[in-house]
């Protein structure tokens, strides 16, 4: 036993010495490099750039950054990237404590929430280093301006879309060019599940069921989900009908039971059933195309279902994300230069490709298609969506608390704890309490 203790203690001492040594060596390294920097005549500027995304986006963005650093040796860009989970929480905490990066990727649906917290971003139209003429001005006006200030530049065109696993469709003899309505979606789903008990047409968690619910209702009413004056955009009858439709999807085996897909709640694109081709369709945003494509090789796309008598399609076309400059950035000019390069330099465009969706500038789209870097599946889908697009969703309709209420009720419906009628009652009653609360908070 003594021997054992001796060995262990010797090992620990060695470990300690090693860690001390490595600590010393790294610090001497850094001091050396900083003295080197002092020798160069140009002042080094360090920018911080934060974004979220999947592996493809990370890699392409990092490549673009190193390209820029090579062209501009005086600029060093620190990349801060990760998944979208908790990104907004982190960002707001950083913004309020004054530690936010110089360049940040934000989502248009967050603008209302961000601006209710304060004014954090620089007006890009005032920065001389940024050329906004390359962008479609109408697109900028509908989504990127708040209080007449240009908050961010759109990284791409993002639309609601259905991703289709073509192998799955071939197996069940479904045409991937089908124009979807609520009826043929349900019929096809029934057929699929009858043929194969382990196959489901739709890959959906409660969030995607929420898309179904809100879109279905919106097509019937032609209104926003919640009106600008915080009243409901629908009546009880329409809502009950929508819940009934959702329930029929559950009962027909169109959607994998929630008890099975629970570990993938919030990340349906990672559900093994989808990755293994046991589900055929994923309703999601076109901005994650590159990531979906890396998993599903034989990929096709369609638009979400549209009722033939729809008053509006409910198809959303909006910027994939915006990239904004922190108002308190110490290196605003350098940040602006980088941002301009990021959107207009042809090498940058070729490096970034479609990792943030189809680019929002015509120039970038042209460069990519000239070089065969743009997937025709994605661009065709974007064009279809732009033809059928609905007016932009208002801020309150996308509120996170309301979304939690929706997904909670959808789960109860999926687990058969409540009927569609009860679900509609519950949702309306809860909204009647919650909406005035949210209104008072603003």
């Amino acid at each position: 036993m003594k021997m054992f203790k001796k060995i262990v203690s010797t090992f620990l001492v060695l470990l300690l010495i090693l860690s001390l040594l490595s600590g010393c060596s790294s610090s001497s390294n850094s001091s050396k490099s900083s003295s080197e920097n002092n020798n160069t005549s140009q002042k080094t500027v360090t920018l911080r750039f934060m974004w979220w995304g999947g592996d493809n986006r990370h890699k392409a963005t990092l490549d673009a950054i190193s390209l820029y650093e090579k062209e501009h040796p005086n600029v060093k860009i620190n990349a801060e990237y990760g998944g979208v989970t908790d990104y907004l929480q982190k960002l707001i905490t950083q913004l309020s404590s004054g530690t936010a990066p110089d360049l940040v990727q934000i989502d248009v649906t967050w603008l209302q929430q961000l601006f209710s917290q304060g004014d954090f971003f620089a007006d890009l139209s005032k920065l001389k280093d940024i050329d906004v003429s390359a962008f479609d001005q109408n697109f900028l006006k509908s989504y990127c301006y708040v209080d007449n200030k240009l908050i961010g530049l759109p990284t791409g065109i993002n639309n609601s879309a259905m991703y289709i696993n073509k192998d799955f469709f071939d197996k069940f003899g479904i045409d991937d060019k089908t124009v979807w309505t609520w009826d043929n979606l349900l019929q096809t789903a029934k057929m699929v599940h009858e043929k194969d008990k382990n196959a489901y047409l739709l890959d959906a968690d409660s969030t995607i069921c929420d898309y179904i619910l809100v879109t279905y209702v919106g097509q019937k009413t032609g209104n926003q989900w919640v009106n600008d004056d915080y009243t409901l955009g629908f009546d009880k009858q329409t809502l009950t009908e929508a819940f009934k439709y959702l329930n029929s999807l559950f009962e027909a085996g169109a959607i994998e039971p929630f008890s099975q897909s629970a570990p993938y709640e919030g990340k349906p694109d990672q559900n093994p059933l989808w990755l293994n081709g046991q589900t055929g369709m994923l309703w999601n945003w076109s901005s994650i195309y590159a990531n979906v494509k890396s998993n599903i090789k034989n990929l096709s796309m369609a638009l979400p279902p549209i009722d033939p008598n729809a008053k509006q399609t409910g198809i959303v076309v909006r910027p994939s994300q915006l990239i904004a400059i922190n108002k308190d950035s110490k290196n605003m000019d350098e940040a602006a230069k980088f941002l301009n390069w990021f959107f207009t330099n042809s090498e940058a465009i070729k490096t970034l490709k479609d990792v943030r969706g189809v680019p929002a500038t015509e120039n970038a789209r042209k460069i990519l298609s000239d070089n065969n870097l743009l997937d025709s599946v994605l661009t065709d889908n974007a064009n279809q969506a732009m033809e059928k697009m609905s007016p932009p969703e208002n801020g309150i309709s996308g509120n996170q608390e309301l979304e939690k209420i929706n997904t909670d009720i959808i789960q109860e419906l999926a687990y058969k704890k409540i009927t569609p009628e009860q679900a509609a009652d519950k949702l309306i009653n809860t909204y009647k309490q919650k909406l005035p609360e949210i209104k008072n908070q603003q």
Partner: protein, 295 residues
């Protein structure tokens, strides 16, 4: 300065990193949440005093308040007894003198070193998926494993198991206590013909009861504050069956940015833990045995 004063000062100097850390990172936030709990405070704007509104809203209107509180109580009642029983059981096995027992002690302590980490929760999630290792293992015995994470009746238990598995620190403390139990008591009882079970309940348990009390209090406090497990493994679902109180605090603070309300929720949790701890201490008079009469 005389010698004693100097010595005291030196002592405080040595522990000053901890004291400074405590003042800045524990006491200050702790007191500030008390003030914020009476305010309407979103993180970027200055707080507005609203009196008891937060507390009234919590008890009368917040639809997640009572369900999450009940989930937390269920979780505590499930986790604490299981964990203590398991820790004591393993401690008793490791108390047997055999060759290489120290290696086992280290191995059983390992899970606690990882304690509460996100990575571990992710592993747990993979273990208990429908086609995860757990159900594969059960299928060898022709048992069709349940949906550990998808069944709202089981999901909280699955998360509780993760905490039970991290029984190491309680185990080490139990082990130390077991070593303190005088051997002559066992020898005397054996001569009188007491069975193993009788010996456990009449000698072992009373002799280690002070340590049992300590572990009970510590584990109860920890269980009330459980966050990482439900947040990472199930995200509060399915059907909010694992939506525990600390997740409600988190959501209000960092998703809806109602820092004031979230502070109020935290204070209620603090008071709840305080009350439960006091009850445990009060009850200890009847079941904790001190050799020196508790003096």
């Amino acid at each position: 300065m005389n010698y004693n004063k100097k010595r005291n000062l030196l002592g405080y100097l040595y522990i000053s990193p901890w004291i400074i850390g405590f003042l800045i990172f524990t006491l200050y936030p702790f007191s500030m949440t008390f003030i914020y709990s009476f305010c309407n405070y979103s993180i970027t704007k200055s707080p507005v005093f609203t009196g008891l509104n937060n507390y009234i809203y919590m008890f009368t209107k917040d639809m997640y308040f009572w369900p999450s509180l009940i989930n937390t109580l269920k979780y505590v009642l499930m986790t604490v007894p299981l964990k203590l029983a398991f820790a004591l059981f393993v401690a008793m096995i490791l108390n047997i003198d055999i060759k290489g027992v120290n290696i086992f002690r280290t191995v059983y302590y390992l899970p606690s070193i990882f304690g509460g980490s996100v990575a571990l929760s992710v592993i747990w999630k993979f273990l208990f998926m429908d086609n995860g290792i757990m159900n594969k293992f059960l299928s060898y015995f022709h048992i069709h494993g349940p949906s550990w994470l998808g069944n709202p009746h089981i999901s909280l238990f699955t998360i509780s198991l993760l905490s039970v598995w991290e029984f190491g620190s309680s185990m080490v403390i139990f082990l130390a206590a077991l070593k303190q139990v005088p051997n002559e008591l066992y020898e005397a009882s054996m001569l009188d013909g007491a069975s193993k079970i009788k010996r456990f309940f009449s000698i072992t348990l009373p002799m280690i009861s002070p340590v049992l009390l300590f572990n009970l209090v510590m584990q109860t406090i920890n269980a009330f504050q459980e966050f990482t497990g439900p947040y990472v493994i199930t995200g509060g679902g399915p059907m909010n069956s694992t939506y525990v109180y600390s997740m409600l605090i988190y959501d209000n603070a960092f998703r809806y940015f109602r820092m004031g309300y979230s502070s109020a929720l935290s204070w209620i949790l603090f008071l709840l833990i305080l009350v439960v701890t006091v009850i445990i201490f009060r009850s200890s008079n009847t079941w904790v045995y001190y050799e020196n009469g508790g003096k």
